[in-house]
């Protein structure tokens, strides 16, 4: 795998968020929940680097701790959507038509439901929590993962090497394991990374609406909701959680693009064959000469 600039920027942005989440487990500048009305809405200073909110809580500490909920949602909902989506996508692609058509119809229905609406319904039934948000986002995203996976699998199943594998006695299960999954691997990585960006954005949206992570646990979305009231006092207040969301989402998107570039076998092959062709022509003239004598 070759590293490219997009991938490096993506990895460092995502790495920064992960670093914050790990840091929050051992250290924060202040107790993120400590209320101190005397210093409410303080501007950034040497003590409170990013200032304080309306209750005098340290914004930096809240952002550091808030990264936990954000990344947890991202990772877990991606785990759900990849597990469900890839299974459904592969299963529908290899199943006979009378199973495939209704399954595809079902996927289309889930796709048509807006993620946020689905999460609102789920939150109304089970009460808002990080877990509700994770499940809602995971299920909603698995539909699009299933759709893309099914399409990719169908392309691979038409490839000559799958016919060739069949002709040498491989059954469907072995073909999926040995030929289909490795060949859609790069697409799966890209999808997972993109899904992670969408999931984080969705979690922030839900928390903003009060349907995600519940107080007192800090969350970027809820910080946005409360700090935006003071936008007219100083726009710097809602800037910080916004910036945190943007960096993380951008990081995952860039990571996805970078992975696509780094894992694409055609890009990789063309680089290697250029060199190989020369070696090959040199060696093949050698063998023909040897053969003719």
């Amino acid at each position: 795998m070759k590293f490219n600039r997009t991938l490096i920027i993506g990895v460092s942005f995502v790495g920064f968020s992960c670093f914050l989440a790990l840091l929050s487990l051992v250290w924060t500048p202040f107790d993120p929940l400590e209320i101190n009305p005397d210093i409410s809405l303080a501007r950034p200073s040497a003590v409170h680097w990013l200032g304080t909110d309306e209750n005098g809580r340290d914004i930096l500490s809240n952002i550091i701790v808030g990264s936990r909920a954000t990344l947890l949602t991202g990772v877990l909902s991606v785990a759900i959507c990849m597990l469900v989506g890839v299974t459904v996508g592969v299963a529908t692609a290899i199943s006979p038509r009378w199973v495939e058509s209704p399954a595809v119809f079902g996927i289309d229905i889930v796709l048509a439901l807006p993620t946020v609406l689905f999460a609102i319904v789920l939150a109304a039934v089970y009460g808002p929590s990080t877990l509700t948000a994770i499940v809602a986002i995971g299920i909603a995203l698995s539909a699009s993962v299933a759709q893309v996976t099914r399409r990719e699998v169908n392309v691979v199943l038409l490839a000559d090497y799958v016919t060739a594998a069949r002709s040498s006695g491989s059954g469907t299960w072995r073909i999926v394991r040995k030929h289909v999954l490795p060949n859609i691997r790069s697409s799966l990585f890209v999808q997972a990374s993109g899904a992670c960006a969408i999931a984080i954005l969705a979690e922030s949206t839900l928390s903003y609406l009060g349907l995600g992570t519940t107080p007192p646990a800090p969350s970027w979305g809820r910080m946005m909701a409360s700090l935006q009231q003071f936008l007219l006092i100083d726009p710097i207040f809602p800037l910080w959680p916004g910036l945190a969301i943007v960096i993380t989402v951008l990081g995952f998107n860039l990571l996805g693009d970078g992975l696509r570039e780094a894992l694409d076998p055609t890009l990789r092959a063309s680089e290697e064959t250029a060199v190989d062709d020369e070696l090959r022509s040199a060696s093949s003239t050698g063998t023909t000469n040897a053969g003719s004598h």
Partner: protein, 267 residues
């Protein structure tokens, strides 16, 4: 009789692409199927190994060693494919998995049918590479398909097809995608290996000179039907069907053209 095809008809919807085809092949014998693209020769060869697409409607009978291939379950067919029947494909690049080392690809049929473990299958793959005339087999089995030339890839395809010493080898235009010089080497190799293994050969091509150099008998296909089934010699001396006569004429004509070119050069 190893292969017995009776009244094989293949339809896609209302379109008949293979129409009432019958032929048979004894163990160790060689049959050529010749015809232009769309004549149904490839579908006929796929029917022999049970690889027709699901959308095809198939009637008639294909007996391999007394077993009916039409309508057989996937499990029954998988047991035969790569084991008793091997197949070599036209495009040596696309017929290999781009992300799997070729040694592993050669080893897969051995692991499926012979129950070999990873090491044993790789050792056998190295042996097979040497047998199909690849230089430095130790290095080749660790290569990916795109690191090999077309001719080398087709030799790999042949090694996969012959891994389990099949009783029937089907070769569907195995040299069409190769350079003329490489073509000759690969054809000679197929002939040699089939003789050594004692396998029967079904050789599909659009090229009469190639088919006649590889096989004893030729089935000429045109628009889904076998219009003539004859010995190679008989076909050249007195072809009965108009289409076969045209094929023979064209082959002769290009021979003469070549001869003319050579004498022209000498003057």
């Amino acid at each position: 009789m190893l292969v017995d095809v009776r009244n094989l008809t293949i339809r896609f919807g209302s379109r008949t692409v293979v129409d009432d085809v019958s032929f048979s092949l004894d163990a160790g014998h060689r049959l050529g199927i010749i015809g232009e693209s769309g004549s149904g020769k490839t579908l006929t060869s796929l029917a022999l190994i049970g690889l027709l697409p699901d959308t095809a409607t198939v009637t008639g009978s294909v007996l391999f060693d007394g077993k009916e291939m039409i309508g057989a379950s996937d499990r029954e067919l998988s047991a035969l494919r790569g084991n008793s029947i091997g197949m070599v494909f036209q495009e040596p690049l696309t017929a290999l998995n781009p992300l799997m080392r070729v040694g592993k690809q050669i080893g897969l049929p051995l692991r499926t049918h012979r129950g070999l473990n990873k090491q044993a299958s790789l050792a056998k793959a190295t042996e097979l590479c040497a047998r199909v005339g690849l230089p430095d087999p130790e290095r080749i089995i660790r290569s990916y398909p795109h690191q090999l030339s077309g001719g080398q890839r087709q030799r790999i395809g042949l090694a996969i097809a012959l891994a389990c010493s099949p009783r029937l080898l089907i070769a569907d235009e195995p040299t069409t995608a190769l350079d003329v010089t490489v073509q000759k080497e690969v054809l000679a190799l197929i002939g040699e290996l089939v003789r050594e293994e004692g396998s029967a050969l079904v050789f599909v091509s659009h090229d009469l000179p190639v088919v006649s150099s590889m096989t004893d008998r030729v089935a000429v296909m045109n628009q889904g039907q076998i219009v003539e089934l004859a010995n190679v010699r008989a076909l050249f001396s007195h072809a009965s069907h108009e289409y076969s006569r045209m094929l023979v004429r064209t082959a002769r004509q290009s021979d003469e053209d070549l001869a003319g070119l050579t004498t022209g050069e000498n003057q």
